[in-house]
């Protein structure tokens, strides 16, 4: 088998480096998932706020019921 030209060898070795970088990025991103931690924190914050609002409403309703008795 004949060895490829120097230019082709150079290009191939550089492309291999790029492929390694791309695979590393893909693997780690897949591990972390598509949602960023900032978005996740925002979602958790929204859920907490919703739960707090529900709790407040429940307490208010209970107070009104007690007052009505």
């Amino acid at each position: 088998m004949e060895r490829p030209s120097q230019g082709a060898q150079l290009l191939g070795s550089l492309l291999a480096a790029l492929a390694i970088a791309a695979v590393a990025i893909a693997l780690v991103t897949a591990h972390f998932g598509p949602t960023s931690s900032a978005e996740r924190e925002l979602q958790e914050e929204r859920i907490e706020q919703r739960e707090e609002a529900l709790e407040e409403r429940r307490e208010l309703r209970e107070e009104q019921l007690e007052q009505g008795r």
């Binding site: 060898q9 150079l10 590393a24 780690v28």
Partner: protein, 143 residues
Amino acid sequence: MEQLIEDVTRGNVTEVKVVIATVVMGLAVYQLLLAAVGYGWLRPRFLSSAPALWTHRASGDTIALLTIAVATMCVGYYGFDFGDDGGTHAIVAVGLLGVLAAKVLVVRVGGRLSRLLPLLGVSLLALIAVTWLTSAGGFLGIA
């Protein structure tokens, strides 16, 4: 500094750091193979010494830049932690930056010091691996 890092990474400081560190780790292993071809220790049919060494230098420059970026993010955002949690990571990372600086200096100076390059290269790979394992490896569930 902290705010700048958070803005640039859009709040995903750790994730971005882990991604870049993993790219560095992958390229560092590739560097070892390229150096082995460059020095003639490995002789694959598809790659000769000169292009392997050229790519080794280009990839090495990229690794140096990425390592400095990760170190800046690490120190700028989390600060120095030589305590129990980040002790090993911080000490090895400082060693890594020292060996990286020494390697760049030896490459620039050349001459007799060039004989140290293989030793410095292998040390650098080992330090990159330990630094990665003690931080990114933990986040990825490897260490």
